[in-house]
Symmetry: C3
Subunit: 347 residues, 3 copies
């Protein structure tokens, strides 16, 4: 969507001051305004930026009187925040695909598509899939056979779904994420050669989940890898086979959960943290970035840190000493010298 | 493949008790059974689950007599484990593509394809490639020019292979993995601007290797990045340029091997571990998850841990003290006070 | 490109000794030579390899007289290094796609393409995009609407660009990288459910940037995620929303930069390092691999290491003590025993 300033002003029931022809393709911040964008001034503290912003259009209150020359076209509105939220929402619809199944997609005749589903070019939907109404399958997505997808789901370009996956309503999966690949399971034979363990379990992603770009979720070995409803997973995260993630849990980028770990509800896992396999993390635990969690012994609501992870404050206290260790060693050596001297003196 | 209980029973030469019409699309665990799946009871310890399982069909021994009402259809067989392994294998063939080259794929006329090769929709195979018999190239795969692929290889959807790569028989590469991209090599000029080093080496992946989803293997600078036969690499792993990985080595998710490192045979590398460039890791070394390995001095079979990594038990012992450091500092301070007092007293 | 030895010799104005029919498809190192490749001998120290190399052709100086039988065809040239650089460059052009827009790509009529642009099969270019002259869009790339791409840009297969992204001249993005996806931003409501924050900002990648395979760059929330000119980013790196990366900065594989962090110019970030959100890293700082940087207090040019990161030498000194901690504890205990004894004696 591209609007000019006059069209935008009309949509916002505003009052236009300046050039109505300026073209707008999105919003920006006032201190980082770019040509072709609309920004806003709600807090008088930022007024100085109004005169220097690179944005093409400035939204401000009905009572705003510029103290000097504005470069931007001004639109005065009743509710600046409300107007800006409306603008953000309008432009965020930009580039959303139309409904319908592209002639350039491959979909098996056995599949069922709900109303208003969009399937983009060069997407493949294999046999026996069901895709709920309002869902958007972007170009170049692959959906393996027997997959069940709920309503209003979004699969961004390049997402690859292995067979028999289940995805709940309103779940969003970002570009090039991979769901349902085989887990890392092998049995070594006598020569130490790895024999592959067949992975015939599945992945269940519940409703209102969001999964970041290039994240990977392995399928269960015999059973299920589950991501509970409302949980949010960032980019480049690894979720191994048989992992169970509770509801409303957040996992930041590049974290990794090893096989068969159970993560509670409302857990928060920092970036690049690692959780060992076969342990159980209690509800509401907060794991600091880069921590290595080797045990499930911490209680609900704990905050943990370190490698291996311990209580957050304990780690900080120990690390504060760690940084001073060379000094403490000198103090130990001084003690040894003094004691040797004392002994001599008392002899 | 979807079977009903009666068809499954016939395949297993079993004895059917209950509804033969129930439809089965895969296996499951008895305590996590789902409708549409078949599960098994081999160990009497789990018999309680037989009465509550959500699975549609239950396999059990010839002598199994239910103590109460079963929800699931029962199939009695001679060898429960054997029957279940057969079932797992049958269903794991589910969704495997048919042989033949899709009309919707692009393959250069100079390419050679062995017997029974499958190339899926929207795949591209560039000039001068050879693909061995029985190999499966899923949809949306890209294979750069001059690439040699062995027999019975599987490339899952979205795999991208840069030119001149060599891939051995029976190797499996999971979705969206990237093989053969340029390494991270630059020469800074006087202004500190990075000049790109051309990467004209190749990647050689030997036979029986498995590579996880979204893993990246860089090509050699002038020479070869090699992954030895039987080695298994998990998801989201980074293998930099000129790395050499020995045979039957296992590398867990999100680990990274920096440029020109040499990894021995039967090495095990934990998740999120990092190996520095230009070092040599001896055979059979076990590297704990998240470790940072900066030296190749550890002997064959060592187990190492930490950041930088040291012997496993040494790290654990030092870390045990680390956790108590604030207490030890108090003991040092107490010693200092006591010694000062002792000195005063003896003066 | 495949040449035989005689053709190569002619291109190099060299002198041929041996079989002129041997076919060459690329270069290799003398100690790792492979059939079908050309290698070189410039430093006499490596002469022994000349007799055993597996390469098909050997380049050497005009005055090179073999001491024993060569397996490789010999080409004598005036400037061995110069000839080899020429060879590397010729073969590195191998497999580069031809210009033109594939009949098998989807491009919106509203897009503008410069001269000599190449768009490969199964690529999608959405509405209102501009792609500068000489740029190469490989197969299976997705370019969201409103994206501006400069001249001589290369997007490798499977790259996914979300809408309204800006990419500068000569920038290279490797396979399956994702640019411009939503950042990890949510507001928890009273029940601790995460409400998605709309991401309507953009990504600006300046000129001469290189981005590795499977790397992810999130779009700004309202504003811009920027990667400064000449910066180089390796594979599997995470760049979160609103991050600003200065010019000529290098970031190694699997590193992660959290939201709204500002990274200076000429910074070097090691593999698997993590930078916390909302901090500012000064110019020319060097961050060791796997470090966790929680503060922006370090001065320009500092070298830092550890978790949390401190000055490099300080970390090494503390870690040297860490490794000896069990011994130091014994010394503290010995001091306590001796002091107890001394006190007794003086009583």
């Amino acid at each position: 969507m591209i609007l000019n300033a006059a069209q935008l002003c009309k949509l916002l029931h505003g009052e236009l001051v300046g050039d109505g022809e300026k073209k707008i393709h999105g919003p920006s911040q006032i201190d980082k305004g770019r040509p072709g964008t609309v920004t806003f001034l709600a807090n008088p503290k930022y007024e100085d930026h109004a005169y220097t912003t690179g944005a093409s259009v400035l939204l401000a209150g009905r009572d705003f009187v510029p103290k000097s020359q504005l470069q931007a076209t001004l639109i005065r509105v009743d509710d600046v925040y409300g107007a800006m939220m409306y603008v953000v929402e309008q432009f965020s619809k930009n580039g959303k695909p139309q409904s319908g199944i592209s002639d350039l997609a491959v979909t098996d005749p056995s599949c069922q598509f709900g109303e208003g589903v969009s399937v983009g070019a060069y997407a493949c939907v294999e046999s026996d899939c069901m895709i709920g109404s309002g869902s958007i399958i972007y170009p170049q997505v692959y959906i393996g056979h027997g997959t069940m997808i709920g309503k209003d789901v979004i699969l961004y370009p390049g997402v690859k779904i292995y067979p028999n996956t289940q995805i709940g309503d309103r779940t969003i999966i970002h570009a090039n994420a991979v769901i349902g690949c085989d887990g890392f399971g092998y049995r070594p034979n006598e020569q130490g050669h790895y024999m592959k363990v067949n992975h015939v379990g599945i992945v269940i992603i519940e409703e209102d989940v969001e999964i970041g770009a290039n994240t990977v979720v392995d399928r269960g070995t015999l059973s299920v890898t589950r991501i509970g409803k409302g949980s949010k997973i960032d980019n480049l995260v690894q979720i191994a086979h048989n992992v169970d993630i509770g509801d409303h849990t957040a996992i930041a980028a590049q974290a990794g959960i090893a096989g068969s770990a159970e993560i509670g509800k409302h857990v928060r896992i920092g970036g690049q943290a690692g959780i060992a396999g076969h342990i159980k993390i209690a509800d509401q635990i907060e794991i600091q970035a880069q921590s290595g969690v080797h045990t499930g012994k911490y209680e609900k609501g704990s905050r943990i840190f370190g490698y291996p992870a311990i209580h957050y404050m304990d780690y900080l206290k120990s690390y504060a000493v760690f940084k001073q260790l060379p000094d403490y060693i000198k103090r130990i050596e001084a003690l040894e010298r003094q004691l040797a001297l004392t002994k001599k003196e008392t002899e």
